[in-house]
């Protein structure tokens, strides 16, 4: 099994390197680009690809954040602040090695934490009552809505996302909403065109930044003396433990997993440094804590998907869709063997990513030659092609493009806002309904909308 997965693992690592280097291309966009190809393979292959892609992107993304001060994702903001300051002080190689070694060792630590919880997994699973599920969903919604620029806009987006997800027929009680007797609408709006229209394309159009070549002249990267870097890192081991621990538990925050992990661990470490009187911008320990937490969070946010079948970030929703399309169900197909496989894959990926990130760091200086804006337009074109291919495979080309173009104006209208409330409620709408109907059955407290 493992040998069969290796090609997908290495393809995921290669894709992760590109996704980490090219501005504006995150895990979601890369997974979308590979969507039609991955549709032809089984759930394990898709999962191996995703795991490698998501992990490698973390390693490479912190290099670009350090050198060019461009955050690939919001979780890289601490790397931008502390890493880039270190780079400007001529300590760029220590910033990069600290982030990479921290991510590497942190992944082993979180694997250990999860491993120790495995014997109790059924007990944890059987505590997951309808009330607990409802509490989790409500807490997440509140968190996502209140973190939006305006609570009113956050709520409006969440309601719109919910109604968008509601279109179609509900299996459990045959309730149909806005289907107009159209068989395609009975299946609901497909995930890919909706997410491309309201989440990916507006982001690519507005957030892509060019790399500034002038910044290269101010710092330097030396990738020799790797063991010296390890020795230096080992002097800061308590930071590693703190970052891993905070990152792991904060990683369960739906929708913002690694962002919360990295920024929370960063703030905690920065406070410690301030209390010690050792903090000034370009702080090595704060950077290591953030990057370690970033990777720990990336692992933690996979667990609800893998164990309960609940995707908590948009790229996981796409992964869930892909795996399910290939007959693999996260949650339903979880077993100890699957966890063992996950652990082995994670160790391989992190080891390879560490040894890629380190020598690759010096080539980062060529990146300013990339025409980032042009690149993002090229990616948009590619995504349109992917939409066509995926729609054709499912005999729904017109439906895919109609959905996409109907929602694109809304995505563009909201381009200056984080559309996460919309995306999240669209993804979890069926779960909200299921829980709502069940609460109605158990206590008679469901809103009218659930009552068919």
């Amino acid at each position: 099994m493992l040998l069969d997965l290796l090609p997908f693992l290495f393809a995921g690592i290669a894709a992760g390197v590109v996704a980490g280097f090219v501005p504006g291309v995150g895990v979601f966009v890369t997974l979308s680009l590979f969507y039609p190809w991955l549709m032809g393979y089984g759930g394990y292959e898709v999962f191996a690809f995703y795991l490698a892609l998501a992990s490698t992107t973390q390693y490479i993304g912190s290099i670009t954040a350090t050198v060019f001060s461009v955050p690939g994702e919001t979780s890289s903001l601490p790397a931008v602040r502390e890493g880039h300051a270190l780079f400007l002080q001529g300590q760029g190689s220590y910033a990069i090695s600290g982030a990479a070694i921290g991510s590497f060792l942190g992944s082993f630590l979180v694997l250990g934490i999860t491993w120790s919880l495995m014997p109790y997994i059924n007990n944890i699973l059987y505590m997951y009552t309808t009330e607990v599920q409802a509490l989790v969903i409500v807490a997440v919604l509140v968190l996502i809505i209140t973190s939006a620029k305006s609570v009113f806009i956050g709520i409006s987006m969440a309601v719109f996302g919910y109604l968008l997800g509601l279109v179609g027929c509900r299996h459990m009680d045959n309730f149909c909403f806005a289907t107009f007797q159209d068989p395609q609408l009975e299946g609901g709006f497909p995930l890919l065109p909706v997410l491309l229209a309201v989440f990916v394309i507006p982001k690519l159009l507005t957030e892509t930044q060019e790399y500034d070549a002038s910044k290269l002249k101010q710092g330097n990267i030396q990738t020799e003396n790797f063991f010296e870097h390890i020795k230096y890192f080992c002097k800061n081991l308590p930071t590693l433990f703190r970052g891993s621990f905070i990152g792991f538990f904060a990683g369960f925050t739906p929708g913002m997993s690694t962002t919360v992990s990295a920024n929370l661990a960063y703030s905690a470490e920065k406070n410690i440094e301030k209390k010690r009187g050792t903090y000034k911008e370009g702080n090595y320990r704060s950077l290591v804590a953030a990057e370690t937490a970033n990777n720990a969070g990336a692992f933690a946010c996979l667990l609800p998907l893998v164990i309960f079948g609940v995707p908590i970030i948009p790229s996981e929703a796409l992964l869930f869709d892909l795996a399910a399309a290939n007959g693999f169900n996260f949650g339903r197909d979880f077993s100890l063997e699957f966890f063992n496989l996950l652990a082995v894959l994670l160790i391989i990926v992190n080891t390879v990513a560490l040894f890629i990130a380190w020598p690759f760091a010096k080539y980062v200086t060529y990146m300013h030659k990339l025409p980032a804006r042009l690149f993002s337009y090229l990616i948009i074109l590619l995504l349109m092609y992917i939409l066509y291919v995926t729609g054709s495979n499912l005999f729904q080309v017109e439906f895919y493009f109609l959905t996409f173009f109907a929602l694109l104006p809304i995505g563009l209208l909201l381009r200056n806002y984080d559309t996460l409330p919309l995306v999240f409620t669209f993804i979890v709408q069926s779960r909200i309904d299921v829980i709502g109907i069940r609460l109605f059955d158990l206590y008679g407290i469901s809103p009218w909308l659930f009552d068919s």
Partner: protein, 304 residues
């Protein structure tokens, strides 16, 4: 020049042999959701049939859309392999429940390949109630169910025995198993016993609708005079766009897959206690008749 000639000749021979070996296209249509058991079954078949056919796997994302796609393909003269849950959609359609008119699809003598027959099961948690408690007076049970048709059947059964109850709805059989084990319902009924057997060590079977019982689980009809206490379930598998000879050939290919312990479809069914696979255990005509009988049974129960 000689090299060039050899190259051209080889290329022509290669292309001729490739077209001679070209596989026929077969559309495998999953009429269920991407996260359900239909998808798991059809994708296992798709993987196994790859060696014989050029497979195009199509996600219907719901029976209405799935059968629309299948019908379009069949009308275009394509070969289409799909499945149907006859024991649910057709009786629901006939009983006028919900918006499932376009899910009414029954197998015919021309396209029938095989069917799965199985019986629903009533189960509880390991430390839950005992079977005989179901008929005790003065109790109100919280009962987990997954579909409207099941709810109607059980409501009729409970009314027959004066059993007080409230229904709690779950999305699928995996959710209902979790609901029982978290203790939020007293017991549940599922038409897909495989989900229960997968986590059977934490649960206890109370009754099966199988008139012969299932292992140490008693049959409901042995303790109840309810006329539909033995109604079963049928999933039928059909292939269209093929001649009768091709259908027979396809059926033997499918049978060979079920005989092969390493095939994906055999692996899917290996934990499935209580299933009868018609292609292994029954005559084709008998299986087709049994599908009809089961659908008639459900329809009678739901339209009562």
């Amino acid at each position: 020049m000689k090299f060039l000639k050899t190259l051209v000749l080889s290329a022509m021979m290669a292309s001729a042999s490739v077209s001679a070996m070209a596989k026929e296209k077969l559309y495998v249509v999953n009429p269920g959701s991407t996260g359900g058991s239909f998808n798991a079954i059809m994708s296992a078949y798709a993987q196994d049939l790859k060696s014989e056919y050029d497979i195009e796997y199509v996600q219907g994302k719901g029976c209405a859309n799935g059968y629309r796609i299948a019908s379009n393909l069949i009308n275009d003269g394509q070969k289409v392999f799909t499945m149907a849950m006859n024991s649910k959609y057709t009786p629901e359609y006939r009983a006028g429940i919900g918006n499932t008119a376009s899910c009414d699809r029954m197998p015919t003598a021309d396209n029938f390949i095989r069917a799965d027959f199985h019986y629903g099961i009533i189960f509880t948690a390991k430390d839950g109630m005992e079977p005989e408690e179901l008929f005790e007076e003065g109790r109100t049970f919280k009962v987990g169910v997954t579909a409207e048709a099941v709810k109607r059947l059980l409501a009729d059964f409970f009314a027959h025995h004066n059993i007080a109850h409230t229904f709690v709805s779950y999305n699928n059989s995996n959710d209902v198993v979790l609901g029982v084990y978290t203790g939020e319902v007293d017991f549940a009924y599922t038409n897909a016993p495989a989900s229960f057997f997968k986590k059977a060590k934490d649960g206890k079977g109370l009754y099966t609708l199988d008139p012969n019982g299932l292992g140490d689980i008693a049959s409901l009809s042995s303790v109840s005079d309810y006329p539909y206490a033995r109604v079963g379930n049928a999933y039928s598998f059909t292939v269209d766009g093929m001649s009768q000879e091709e259908v027979a050939q396809f059926a033997s290919t499918v049978k060979a897959l079920h005989d092969n312990k390493d095939s994906n479809i055999t692996k899917y069914y290996k934990d499935g206690r209580g299933y009868t696979n018609s292609i292994l255990d029954m005559e084709r005509d008998d299986a087709l008749n049994l599908v009809d009988e089961i659908v008639d049974g459900w329809t009678a129960a739901l339209t009562k």
